[in-house]
Amino acid sequence: MPRDILEERRKSISLAGGSLDCDKASLAGAVSQRACVYCGARVVLNPITDAFHLVHGPIGCASYTWDIRGSLSAGSELYRQSFSTDLRERDIVFGGEAKLRAGLREIAEIYRPPVIFIYATCVVGVIGDDVEAVAREAEKAYGIRVIVIQSPGFAGHKSLGYRLAGEALMKLLSPQADPASQPQARQPQARQPKVRGLNILGDYNLAGEMWIIKNYYREIGLPVIASFTGDSTCAELRKAPTAALNVVQCAGSMTYLAKRLEEEYGIPWIKASFFGLEDTARALRETVDLLGSAEERSRAEALIARESRRAEAAIKPYLPGLKGKKAAIFVGGGFKAISLIRQFRALGLETVLVGTQTGQKEEYEVMANLASPGTVILDDANPSELEAFMREKGADILVGGVKERPLAYKLGVAFCDHNHERQAPLAGFVGVENFTREIDLTINSPVWSYVQAAGVTLS
């Protein structure tokens, strides 16, 4: 292990395929790449396009999350606004409830959104605001669903935020809690008649990826009832309980919701990945297996054959230029990391480093099984570790988030944006083409020939 890896971090780093510590609070002072509970909740709920997302707290949290994720909408743009109660010094002293109450009244009068999500951030609990009470009161007064997400940053890390978002979504679906619903709709949901159709969970329509996936299902003939949460509306999400199957794409953020939907509405679920040819094909086949007819299965096969052939033809010219290159992966969730290892292998790249912000134990085991021996595996890594191991392993490319990009470039390492800022879809068959092209255009750029390889000085 390189010299400057902190002692307490060593348990979270595996060099020889052994197990590692994960899902722990970040180590103080280590400069973790992780964000907080609020972040996790906001990223999951934000793509609901017609919801009113209100941050209750001082301004920072709203400033830094204003429209920063590339979820696209075919309809409302309300979700791209950033609203905050902008608590100031005096509100901290006298409490923020009055401001929140007044704000909710205005929102109800001016916007009349189908739902208001209130994200209560760090200080709200500390100053003693009873946000839940204010929400109930507003719900009663205005007949608009108001859902509170208690998401102080210190309550855990991003994963907890995912779970809180799942709980908020369950509240959104529950007709008992919907002030606008008719009494006859308030029957136990599990007994609601199911229709032949599926929900997609855990795709956020970055660069239109939800649309791409839905198009596949449309072509096959399987109706998509609701999409969690990419380009969704409240009305659409409320139909989700009638679906016959949940297809979970981003497992990290949505497994909790899938389990809850299974328990309360009796909807079975499968995990599926739409990253890579193999995974996409399998995802479509399995959905059809569970829901479709023979006719639809043959349509799926026709689609898979046609699209795979096209994608394979498109990526073929790039393969010689990628073969044998070394990849480093540092992404948010474990499921994406697993898909990336497989995608890199399919393109002839070897993964030498893989890490995530919020991976789970089983996911790290899968990574260890998939990656070649000697691959560095890290949980909740920091810039020092990424720097040390990318140098040691001679990585040619890093796949990561926005914060990691400048580091990669400073180290003379190519970079692939597999993050919320991406503007080219990376999911589905077309995503394989884009991914390959993106890898090629960075890794084979002429600029690298003008800089020294990382760690090598001019003599």
Partner: protein, 929 residues
């Protein structure tokens, strides 16, 4: 634009206080910050800074947890400092607080004193900064950070001849320009905080985790002995000003002036340096001359600008002054800060301008958000925005150019290199502003003037003759189609009522979102054979290729209509788009139309046709209620047509090659003319086949427009598997769009085409066909493919796979919460269910079991038995490991155990094959069961 939310900040025009503090600490050498509070504060600020500066930004956090929030975060903070020092070896650490730490009352100075006293040989200077996010904006935070550093480090009071230069938040490139001016002056100076290197680092083959630029600590120490301080900020609150602190504490005289933006503030700055004994270089004077020259060159364009300016108080003030001196009207100035006295100062800036004297209003507002900026920008008739990239959504929405000249810039390159300071920086900015104004003028004045003054000739005269020409302009090579005298005599002007295009979703983009349509697949047969089509599927002219819809009988079509209309009251148009050719199934078509018309006389019909039989049927169609027609015309040259169409069957005869193609296109044009004259709205579809007919598209649409078509649509050819042209490359989206624009010059184009299915239902933007599909009335048109598993259990193997990831086999049998159940015949797989294992009351059931590892917990009684029972109907279980006890129990139930780490597909197939080969052996009597 909605009403103002008075109690809610809608789209913030400010960032939080600690962001400013952290940025200031990037301005001292070997400095770092640790934010005491929740993890997210540091992470969000890092992302925000890194995206603007395109530099690694490392900010540590004490990562406070729930426990820390309740019992205090001293332990976390100390550990954080240890780790940070270990990783980066800084000489200074700024310890900023956050909303959380301030609110729970952390005594950071005391903790830091403890920390230092516990470590006598500590070589790092720790500087506490009280910086709750709610104490102000990032602007005030910057000064607070700078002042905290000065208070902690400026201790060398020995007088010296140097001067101090304190800067407001500035770009690295501007600070480099400022240093150049100061260097030229020959004065001894310390610029602080100096982020010019640390947030815009040159590429270095040796990456240094701790950047090496910034004001040296020794220089900061000497600030206390300087002969004078210049503070380039007019609006920094006194309590946060480093210059005020030095003046009050050490008697260092303070001169406050604006940052050198624009002619006047650069002059003031240079004169101030001169008054202190500094020189101004000839090169700088030449730059001044160039800036002045550019002001003159640009002044008439500048005067057209009505700017909305937003950002930090100092920056906006500088920009307003630059605007005023150039004759550009800063009609709205806004800042997110409280900025006492600022609004009055801004108003005073422009007080003397002649346009203000003529009664034009200027708005200067503090504590604004972007909803305010939008409202007041509209009110002030702004045509240009100056500020950060946070204005981009507003700029996009209102189509105002945005000159990005302030932090943060998240959607462009070069945030570190924004230039405003010095004559050259002001010149660069002026060029950008004027070019934004000129670009708009240059690209719009032709259209604007044409719109204002050009009057076209009267419509009748203009339209009459080209239509007549169209009929005579048919390619000479055409053999006259033998259509019979009656067909060639259409009933001109028979009907005058025209269908309103506004209610047809295909003909109007607005209608696409509001008016529903229903496609009824009643026409299976086709009378032409296109080379890009395969008859097993729907006609690719109208439907998404490769899609097959079941064919409905006329009666079934009526049923479908009733079903859909009950749910979609906005249903206005019923269409027939295949799956074959509508007119080749005329009796079914006519019957369907009659049935529906009888049900609802208000309904219009829309038909898709290849046009071959249109001359024969146009009048009947009109009488049956058809109002819309789509004709797919792919060529006007029979030689091209011959390569697109394999065969044409017309009135019982088959035509091939050029002859067939010529026949088809002649009928298409005659049919089009007849339909138009009958009052039908006609859309022309053209499927673009790369290398075959791109060159034809514009001609086709030009001709169609002349004949009287309403709208056109060029479509991407989507290869249909098994068709002769399946391997033809598709035209690119960009190529298609270009072509579409070229056609648009002649015929309006439908740009919202979704290439619907033949049985599409609902709005164009929302296909509902599968929800309206009475399964029992449908006849599947394709044979089930070979993959379908036999339902005969004897030939099937059922396999349970243990996978948490859903990708590879990755669980021990004892870890199972779920079993993925597959059926297989040894060749293919079919997922049957994701089976939940009932683990009993003591297990993880009944709720989310968090991140607990089931193996680490106490297992409920009978846990293994329950797992085995869950897999008992399977022939095999695939897992990464199976213990001896479950292995025996599974064996007793006849379940085979397969250990694998492979992908699910491969592992399940291998297991199925194992079971099948064993069955064979048993069947052959070579192995006992």
């Amino acid at each position: 634009m909605r009403e103002k939310l008075a109690h809610i900040n809608a789209n913030p025009c400010k960032m939080c206080f600690p962001l400013g503090v952290v940025t200031a600490f990037y301005g001292i050498r070997e400095g770092l910050t640790l934010l005491h509070g929740s993890q997210g504060c540091g992470t969000y600020i890092r992302r925000h800074l890194a995206t603007h500066y395109q530099e690694p930004v490392d900010i540590a956090s004490s990562s406070l947890t729930e426990e820390g929030a309740v019992f205090g975060g001293e332990a976390n903070l100390k550990k954080g400092l240890d780790n940070l020092i270990r990783l980066y070896q800084p000489r200074v650490i700024g310890v900023g607080t956050t909303c959380l730490a301030e609110t729970i009352g952390e005594d950071v100075p005391a903790i830091l004193r403890n920390y230092a006293s516990e470590r006598p040989d500590l070589a790092v200077k720790l500087i506490p900064v009280a910086s709750a996010g709610y104490s102000g904006t990032h602007y005030e935070g910057w000064f607070k950070g700078a002042r905290a550093i000065v208070e902690a480090l400026a201790v060398k009071t020995a007088p010296h001849s140097g001067i101090n230069v304190f800067v407001p938040p500035s770009s690295p490139a501007d600070l480099r320009a400022l240093k150049k001016l100061l260097d030229e002056s020959g004065l001894d100076y310390v610029l602080f905080p100096d982020i010019s290197h640390n947030l815009d680092r040159p590429y270095d083959p040796v990456y240094k985790r701790l950047p090496e630029g910034g004001t040296p600590l020794e220089a900061v120490a000497s600030l206390a002995g300087a002969r004078v301080s210049l503070e380039l900020s007019r609006f920094c609150p006194k309590s946060l000003s480093p210059g005020v602190y030095l003046e009050e504490t050490f008697g260092v005289p303070l001169i406050r002036l604006g940052a050198p933006i624009g002619l006047r503030d650069n002059d003031i700055f240079l004169k101030t340096l001169q008054s202190l004994g500094g020189r101004v270089s000839p090169a700088t004077l030449a730059e001044r001359g160039r800036y002045l020259d550019a002001m003159l060159d640009a002044h008439k364009h500048s005067a057209l600008g009505r700017a909305g300016i937003f950002g930090d108080p100092d920056l906006v003030s500088g920009l307003v002054r630059l605007a005023v001196e150039n004759g550009l009207r800063p009609v709205l100035a806004g800042t997110g800060s409280v900025a006492l006295g600022w609004a009055e100062a801004i108003l005073a800036e422009s007080a003397g301008a002649d346009w203000v004297a003529r009664g034009e209003k200027i708005l200067a507002r503090t504590e604004v958000d972007f909803s305010d900026i939008e409202r007041w920008s509209v009110e002030s008739r702004v045509n240009l925005l100056l500020g950060s990239s946070e204005g981009r959504r507003l700029a996009e929405k209102r189509a105002w150019p945005l000159v990005r000249c302030a932090f943060p810039v998240h959607d462009r390159q070069g945030g570190s290199r924004l230039r405003l300071y010095g004559f050259d920086g002001s010149l660069a900015l002026l060029d950008n502003i004027v070019n934004a104004i000129r670009a708009r003028e240059e690209s719009s004045f032709r259209a604007r003037l044409k719109e204002a003054y050009f009057q076209p000739q009267t419509e009748g005269a203009a339209l009459e003759s080209p239509g007549a020409e169209a009929a005579t302009e048919l390619p000479a090579a055409l053999p006259p189609p033998d259509l019979g005298p009656e067909i060639l005599r259409p009933a001109w002007g028979l009907l005058s009522s025209r269908a309103p295009t506004e209610t047809h979703p295909c003909f109007s983009q607005e209608a696409a979102h509001t008016y529903a349509r229903l496609h009824l697949p009643v026409a299976p047969k086709c009378d032409i054979s296109c080379n890009y089509c395969r008859r097993d599927f729907d006609c690719p002219n109208e439907s998404r290729p490769g899609v097959t819809s079941a064919v409905l009988s006329p009666q079934a079509a009526l049923e479908r209509f009733r079903l859909v209309r009950a749910q979609l009251p906005n249903l206005k148009v019923v269409g027939v788009a295949g799956p074959g050719e509508a007119l080749a199934n005329f009796s079914e078509l006519a019957e369907t139309m009659e049935l529906i018309r009888r049900e609802d006389p208000e309904i219009f019909f829309c038909l898709s046709t290849n046009g071959l039989n249109l001359p024969l049927r146009a009048r009947e169609l009109r009488e049956l209620g058809a109002r819309y027609l789509t004709i797919t015309i792919n060529s006007l040259d029979p030689r091209v047509g011959a390569r697109i169409y394999k065969e044409i069957n017309f009135l019982g005869r088959s035509y091939q090659g050029v002859e067939g193609a010529a026949m088809l296109q002649a009928n298409q044009l005659v049919g089009l003319k007849m339909a138009v004259d009958l009052g039908l709205k006609v859309k022309i579809n053209t499927v673009i086949l790369s290398g075959l007919n791109e060159g034809q598209a514009v001609e086709i649409h030009k001709m169609a427009a002349q004949v009287g078509a309403t709208i056109g649509n060029v479509m991407q050819h989507i290869p249909v598997e098994g068709s002769p042209l399946a391997h033809l490359p598709q035209i690119s989206r960009a190529g298609l769009s270009r072509l579409s624009w070229e056609c648009q010059a002649h015929l309006p184009q439908m740009r919202h085409c979704r290439q619907c299915r033949a049985d599409a239902v609902g709005l164009l933007s929302e296909d509902l066909s599968y929800q309206y599909r009475p399964a029992d009335q449908l006849t599947p048109p394709v044979e089930p493919a070979a993959w379908v598993l036999s339902e005969d259990r004897a030939n099937l193997v059922r396999v349970a796979v243990l996978s948490k990831s859903g990708v590879v086999v990755d669980q021990h049998f004892g870890q199972a919460e779920r079993l993925l159940i597959y059926d297989s015949d040894g060749q293919s797989l079919r997922l049957r269910e994701n089976r939940q294992v009932d683990l009993g009351s003591g297990g993880c059931r009944g709720g989310f079991c968090g991140q607990k590892d089931p193996l680490a917990d106490q297992k409920p009684e009978g846990f293994i038995a329950r797992l085995v029972a869950a897999a008992a109907d399977c022939d095999a279980v695939v897992a990464t490991r199976v213990g001896q006890s479950p292995r025996d129990k599974l064996a007793a139930r006849g379940v085979r155990v397969v250990v694998s780490f492979d992908t699910i597909d491969r592992a399940a197939l291998a297991a199925a094959q194992e079971v099948l080969s064993q069955r064979e052996l048993v069947a052959e009597g070579r192995l006992g069961s």
